[in-house]
Symmetry: C2
Subunit: 413 residues, 2 copies
């Protein structure tokens, strides 16, 4: 026997929350601990209350809605975040929280017998007004007094100040930490934020890994020269080095990466940057992602050697510094198989895939079995008011989540 | 019999003028009609006077130093400019004016019999505070009341105001126009501002053409996408199109250009320009130069087709607009041969070459026989305080100019 979510109720919740913090024609503004976020949080707590779920707010201001709570038993957790980037769409984060709410509501209504408590969590500041994944880092024990104290937004407002203005003591986030054995499993539903499901025609993706990355600041340094008086063969054109490297990237990934490897040069600055001067220097970003650390390590070496060789041959100087490195996260294989199996039972074709973007789930994966359910993003659009997912796909994803939670909550110790 | 310049006197003039408008460690500031320029002009007029040359200042504030003046006879003209870019070196422009002065001084001292008058001209605003080549455009009849009225510097100061502050009526520049038959020939000595003579070991270049150019503003437009969630084969990376085009440039020039063709991409802007977003759009400059209009026309077509093909294959939009087109200028073949012959007589090896930069000579070429003598720029450096030419090379170039002027002034009607 399988359960079904109440599609109309879920749709209505999505629409109601989407109106909170929305600025007409500019998208949604519910940045963490902003007035829009606070309004969204208050509304969500009211929904939990209306559904007869137990409400618990931890030290990191994560909102937990709990069913059949028993602190002696490891819970089955789902959730996502209510906060948004500025000018956001209506689904990123919100969909996971509202679907979790709907699942718990349906399970409660259907009086499903539960071996384990269920909780839906709205995590604080996933999107990064103060750095990102504040709530899921708190729960997984990754915060320090120093990291809380230093967190600051782009306007120079401290996390401690912003939380205090909302009635929270930021340092209490340290007490939000959960013991690993208090969480049986974590499953998060989220929009894909990429084009794969949409282009391949799947309604549901099951995430088996979250990509890690390395990000470099690279410089190639030649000689700025007069564009009129310097013959082609006497130039040290720094930009020519970058152009050559860019045309090698696909080959480098094909030869040394996996089918999940991506590399992006998204930022480029030429110096002096005038139409009539041969570029003497180019600074650019190089960001490479994969779901295997081994592959990322290999690609770091490959990119360094390719750039060195180009620089040597073109008589350029090559410098780089590592701006960030984030390790990939494996989801639980057992959990992924269970979700795939639930989808099959529901006759919903699903695609095993990676997440290229970061999610709270990657924090939870550090302390418990974790996996994600993706639904398609139309044209891959996200972080934009143009973000959109067909309600039929949302319903399928929600039913996969619902029946997965039922199975997990029915599992014995 | 050949004449020699007085090297010590020329060297002393160069050093004295270099001190006018110099800011220690920052180069020379004699932008047109600035206090530095006025001081340089005053000093130059004093030198003309000390040399016993007749001084004539035309309506465009061009300073003429004249020897054996006879307005019924076509004159032999040399010269260059005293004004500089901000932070300039000591030779660009100044060397041509001072060498011209030294040549007339020597010819006068040596009592060389002259069939024609000689004049050395310091042209106004060659470097472009108010657009460039003001003086040589005035003499060749290219100014209009409108162009004078509209000329404005980067600070919003009008040419008319700046000239008035120096005691000149800008509209009088219209009266500086010379009849073509009043100039027998024009020869300008200038530093190369490129690396060719320095790298090839020549002391003297003889310029047979001044390159023209076309300059485009190009856009390639794809789709901005999340760098983590968008697989390589689902991207519309605008920058990838530019990188591919850049790697084709040398081949396009080799196949369709001349050995003098150069192409430069000096300005590049990516949008949105973030490390974690696949570039959805790239705007860049494309500047192509050659000494043949036919070649420039060919290269315009070739670049358009190459960019169209890349855009079509990569599913990008391609747009461009022509920012400027400047026609190449041919020097007088007869004059070039005469200069080469003079150099040979002096046993100075010389290289026939093009000028990649613009000069007053290209204006003069529109109304009379014109050519240029180049001396090497160390490492091709110019428009910088690092600009430098060995005094032995300057002396050789000056002697070529001197004996060329003697020959030209000795020619009958």
């Amino acid at each position: 026997m399988t359960l079904q979510v109440n599609q109309q109720r879920l749709k209505s919740d999505i629409e109601t929350l989407a109106a909170i913090g929305r600025e007409p024609d500019h998208g949604i503004y519910r940045m963490a601990f902003s007035p829009g976020d606070v309004a969204g949080r208050d509304w969500f707590k009211q929904q939990l209350s209306d559904a007869g779920l137990e409400i618990y707010e931890d030290g990191a201001a994560n909102i937990h809605g709990r069913l059949a709570w028993d602190e002696t038993k490891a819970s089955v957790m789902t959730g996502s975040h209510l906060d948004t980037v500025p000018g956001a769409g209506h689904l990123d984060g919100a969909l996971g929280v509202l679907t979790g709410l709907e699942c718990l509501r349906r399970i409660k209504e259907a009086n499903i017998p539960l071996q384990r408590p269920l909780e839906v969590v709205a995590f604080s500041d996933e999107e990064g007004r103060f750095g990102g994944m504040l709530g899921s880092q708190a729960i997984t024990g990754r915060l320090t007094p120093e990291s809380i104290h230093k967190a600051i937004d782009l306007d120079g407002i401290r996390l401690t100040e912003a939380m205090q203005a909302c009635g929270y003591d930021a340092m209490a986030a340290l007490h939000a930490r959960r013991q690993p054995d208090s969480i049986h499993a974590y499953v998060e539903l989220h929009i894909e934020q990429g084009p794969i499901l949409d282009q391949m025609g799947f309604s549901v993706g099951v995430v088996d890994a979250i990509a890690g990355l390395f990000k470099w600041d690279v410089s190639l340094i030649g000689t700025p020269n007069h564009a009129g008086t310097t013959p082609m063969h006497m130039r040290n054109d720094a930009f020519a080095g970058l152009a050559e490297f860019h045309t090698q990237i696909q080959r480098l990934l094909d030869e040394n990466g996996s089918e999940r490897s991506v590399a992006t040069i998204g930022r480029v600055s030429l110096f002096p940057g005038a139409a009539n001067v041969v570029p003497g220097r180019v600074d650019f970003s190089l960001e490479v992602r994969d779901t295997e650390q081994r592959v990322l390590d290999e690609l770091q070496g490959v990119c360094r050697r390719a750039l060195s060789a180009i620089a040597r041959r073109r008589n350029l100087m090559f410098e780089f510094k590592v701006l960030s490195e984030i390790a990939p996260v494996k989801c639980s294989n057992g959990l992924v198989d269970q979700i795939k199996d639930v989808a099959e039972t529901l006759k919903i074709p699903s695609l095993r895939m990676a997440s290229g973007a970061a999610h709270d789930a990657q924090m939870l994966a550090g302390i418990t079995r974790a996996a994600m359910v993706f639904v398609p993003s139309k044209d891959g659009r996200s972080h934009s008011a143009a973000e959109w997912t067909d309600m039929r796909d949302i319903e399928k994803g929600a039913n996969v989540l619902l029946n997965t939670l039922v199975r997990l909550a029915g599992e014995g110790k």
